[in-house]
């Protein structure tokens, strides 16, 4: 269940209240997000659409603890992240958030295995345990046979699958996807969306995705539209809002 009315309809995984984000450029103030409310339950798949500059990526950055709001609050799985220190926020991010970027953002000098292993280096898992987790994550995205390949030896679609494996390897609370198909051809984009959809349906993952691509967005259970920092419209793609 996804709500944007700010009435507090019960417990939620991601609860956003009266979120404002203002950037200052010289003497000019730019209101990127204005009084935004949002509630997302566990297992939801939400797509945010909207024109460039509407605040989609800013919202994603705030939900992922990469940036701090000007005012308002964000609570994820009971943790209010808006008042956390930078250090605590980093730890929280490592535990709760999996990021998938448009440009994959893999480390080019590391193999697919090593890229996926990165988040696990911050855990207390043994080498053998890390290996098991990485192999499982790569198997989920269908790249078990590409573990030793470097990013330059993979296609764009394969790189994005490695990025998805890196995002899910530590079993985060939710996934944040910033235009995950924006740099891919149609076929690869469909494959990526298949994987994300499977993560929601089969593995119960909660996914919040920003996209310009209507075909990608229609895979989401709920599509929300952002315009000039305001959630002005909510449409149920394949479920209720």
């Amino acid at each position: 269940m996804v709500s944007i009315d700010g009435k507090g309809n019960g417990p939620c995984l991601v609860c956003v209240r009266d979120l404002d984000k203002i950037y200052t450029r010289g003497s000019e103030e730019i209101h990127v997000l204005q009084g935004l409310n949002l509630e997302v339950d566990a297992g939801d798949f939400v797509a945010f659409m909207g024109p460039s500059g509407s605040g989609k990526t800013t919202l994603l950055n705030l939900l992922g603890g990469l940036d701090l709001p000007t005012s308002g609050s964000i609570t994820v799985a009971g943790d209010e992240i808006t008042h956390m220190s930078a250090g605590k926020l980093t730890n929280w991010r490592a535990r709760h958030v999996g990021f998938i970027f448009q440009m994959y953002n893999l480390i080019p000098v590391l193999t697919a295995f090593q890229n996926v292993e990165l988040p696990l280096l911050l855990t207390r898992l043994s080498k053998a345990e890390r290996r098991k987790h990485v192999e499982t994550a790569l198997a989920v995205v269908g790249l078990a046979d590409r573990m030793k390949h470097f990013p330059r030896q993979l296609s764009g679609g394969q790189e994005q699958r490695v990025a998805i494996a890196r995002a899910i390897v530590a079993d985060p609370t939710f996934l944040l996807c910033d235009e995950p198909t924006g740099d891919l051809d149609r076929k690869s984009a469909d494959e990526i969306m298949d994987i994300i959809e499977r993560l929601v349906k089969e593995h119960g993952k909660t996914v919040l995705m920003v996209s310009h691509d209507p075909r990608a967005a229609e895979r989401a259970r709920v599509v929300l539209h952002l315009d000039k920092g305001v959630l002005i419209e909510a449409a149920a793609a394949r479920g209720s809002v």
Partner: protein
């Protein structure tokens, strides 16, 4: 360290740049090893000087002599357990480029006072028996292929004429930095054949019975000959050796200046390289922070890279210096016994690591302060 693979992979990202930076450290630390070895050489073994020995020279100048008659008077001073003396000879072997130091010494006492020189009993015996006998150092013997029984002709420059010596033995030093590039021959042979200065010596070497007596004995010797035509100046062997080296100029200052300039340049070059490396990778660093790498962890990663570069380059440079410098020492014997001591090696390595750390600090702090949102926007 779980992140070591990441550090190592980053170093291999731009192989040429990494190799060149490591090469800079290699060259700088090789130079450090060389300069440190030359510094030791120019100190004339001051570090190896005997703590229980004093040197007495003419108060006016080292090049002015002292009467041989002082020997017995010094020996009677309480606290003196032995005495010997030497003269600088300054002969030329075949060609002036073949320079090596030669000293005319007392045949009976020299190797007793300098017991740290290793001489065979047969060699010492032959040295006492043959008026033209000489003892050559191990390095000198290697340099010209001298062996026991050989005849060495020298052309005198201070004491003119042709002088001939018979090699009675070859001596070794007690320490690796001991100077064995010179030759000792008998002072009585010099005294009988020189045109001037008979009955004088260049300097005395006084052996102390007790190390604690250095100050009173020094005072007693100089007081004894005060207001005489040949006033004396007595000092520890270490001070004497150092002042001898200073006659060559302030080599230490020169070496320190060269070393400082080289290391400062190295700091700038490496700092710039690391800054470029960090700037190129700001997107990747942002990704690391996104997946949960803390600011401090990112700082450590960058510092580790800089230190690893410095450590590798430093080790290679110092190892090369350790291998090459002894050969250089044989080729340039006027510099004395050159070698890279374990202390020099350790000091150089620590210095390399410190420079690596200093060079990495600013880029690492920049990486630590990198805002994820800003960096990702640039990707």
């Amino acid at each position: 360290m779980k992140s070591f693979r990441l550090v190592w992979a980053n170093l291999r990202r731009k192989k040429i740049r990494t190799t060149l930076t490591i090469g800079s450290f290699t060259v700088a630390l090789f130079l450090f090893g060389l300069l440190a070895a030359i510094r030791i050489g120019f100190r004339g073994g001051a570090d190896a000087a005997g703590a229980d020995r004093l040197n007495t020279i003419n108060r006016v100048s080292l090049i002015l002599p002292l009467p041989l008659s002082y020997r017995d008077r010094i020996l009677k001073i309480p606290g003196v357990s032995g005495i010997t003396y030497a003269n600088w000879f300054g002969g030329v072997y075949q060609d002036e480029r073949n320079f090596f130091p030669q000293f005319a010494v007392d045949k009976d006492t020299w190797f007793d006072v300098y017991a740290d020189y290793a001489v065979s009993p047969e060699g010492r015996d032959a040295f006492r028996k043959d008026r033209q006998a000489c003892m050559v150092g191990r390095n000198l013997a290697k340099r010209f292929g001298f062996k026991v029984g050989d005849r060495i002709p020298l052309r005198g420059t201070i004491f003119t004429g042709n002088w001939e010596f018979n090699v009675a033995g070859i001596f070794d030093g007690g320490r690796p930095d001991a100077d064995t590039s010179g030759m000792f021959f008998r002072a009585d042979y010099l005294d009988e054949n020189r045109q001037f200065g008979q009955g004088t010596v260049g300097w005395y070497v006084v052996k102390l019975a007790n190390l604690d007596d250095a100050v009173p004995v020094t005072k007693a010797i100089d007081e004894q000959f005060a207001n005489s035509p040949f006033e004396t100046r007595t000092q520890t062997e270490k001070a004497f050796t150092a002042s001898f080296a200073k006659q060559m100029g302030n080599v230490e200052l020169l070496i320190m200046t060269i070393g400082s300039v080289v290391f400062f340049t190295l700091l700038l070059v490496t700092g710039n390289t690391m800054a470029i490396a960090v700037r190129e990778r700001s997107g990747e660093l942002a990704v690391l922070k996104t997946v949960g790498f803390s600011d401090v962890r990112v700082l450590k990663l960058i510092l580790a890279e800089a230190i690893l570069i410095a450590g590798q380059g430093g080790f290679i440079g110092l190892a090369l210096a350790k291998i090459v410098i002894p050969d250089l020492s044989r080729a340039l014997p006027m510099l004395g016994a050159l070698y890279v001591s374990p202390l020099t090696f350790g000091l150089g390595f620590v210095l390399a690591l410190l420079i690596g750390t200093a060079a990495g600090v600013l880029p690492a702090v920049g990486a630590m302060r990198l805002r994820v949102v800003d960096a990702l926007r640039r990707v």
